[in-house]
């Protein structure tokens, strides 16, 4: 059920839309354990999307076996610029996962969860914008987007 829900959510579109949908889902759903579960799925999905962006950036970095030809791959400086966005994004995702984990399943999900997911979404969108178009398409393929 979890995998099915995650697949549906991830199929919506690109990473930014996915995370926006996840944030909305948390606050329009039922309370208690169900909300806790939805928050968990949201955080796990956000991590999966961010992981897809990271793996794509690595695959497109000049010098790697899977990198496209010179001129279409990411230079060291370009990869560092992506890292400057992805590092804090993973920090936010780890933080939000900890907040959800520390929440009593019977209690409402704290507002910090939506705020942290919004921040992670913004950082991921910025990281995506730094990737070549072909890399953005790869991320879309990995996350089920078009």
């Amino acid at each position: 059920m979890r995998n099915r829900f995650q697949k549906i959510v991830l199929s919506l579109s690109m990473a930014g839309f996915v995370l926006a949908a996840l944030a909305i889902a948390i606050f329009t759903s039922a309370c208690g354990a169900k909300q806790y579960h939805i928050a968990t799925v949201s955080v796990v999905s956000a991590n999966a999307v961010a992981g897809a962006v990271q793996e794509t950036a690595d695959a497109f970095t000049c010098g790697s076996a899977t990198a496209p030809p010179e001129g279409k791959c990411l230079s060291t400086e370009q990869r560092k610029a992506v890292a400057a966005k992805l590092s804090p994004a993973f920090g936010k995702i780890g933080e939000v996962a900890q907040v959800v984990k520390d929440t009593d399943p019977a209690d409402p999900i704290p507002d910090a969860v939506k705020s942290l997911l919004d921040q992670a979404k913004e950082l991921l969108n910025q990281a995506l914008a730094l990737l070549p178009a072909s890399a953005q398409k790869r991320v879309a393929d990995l996350t089920g987007g078009q």
């Binding site: 991590n47 961010a50 992981g51 590092s87 993973f90 920090g91 995702i93 996962a97 900890q98 984990k101």
Partner: protein, 76 residues
Amino acid sequence: MTKVQVEQIVAALAINTQWAALLPAIFAAGDAGYAAFKSIVAALREHGVEADVVLLEKTIAEAAARKQHEDDILAG
């Protein structure tokens, strides 16, 4: 009910769509059957939260490792 038993029930529900056929037998057992049914539902609910916590812990560890990878690139 042990965690292993709960896991077996969850696995059975996932792979056997005919699980509902068990319900008449549960209700046929009267109050005892109803009590058993309630305990199964409660255990499944508890197991669900446990599963969420396991997923969250895995995500926390993975996000930290992925963040470290990005920090290494920044430092490199």
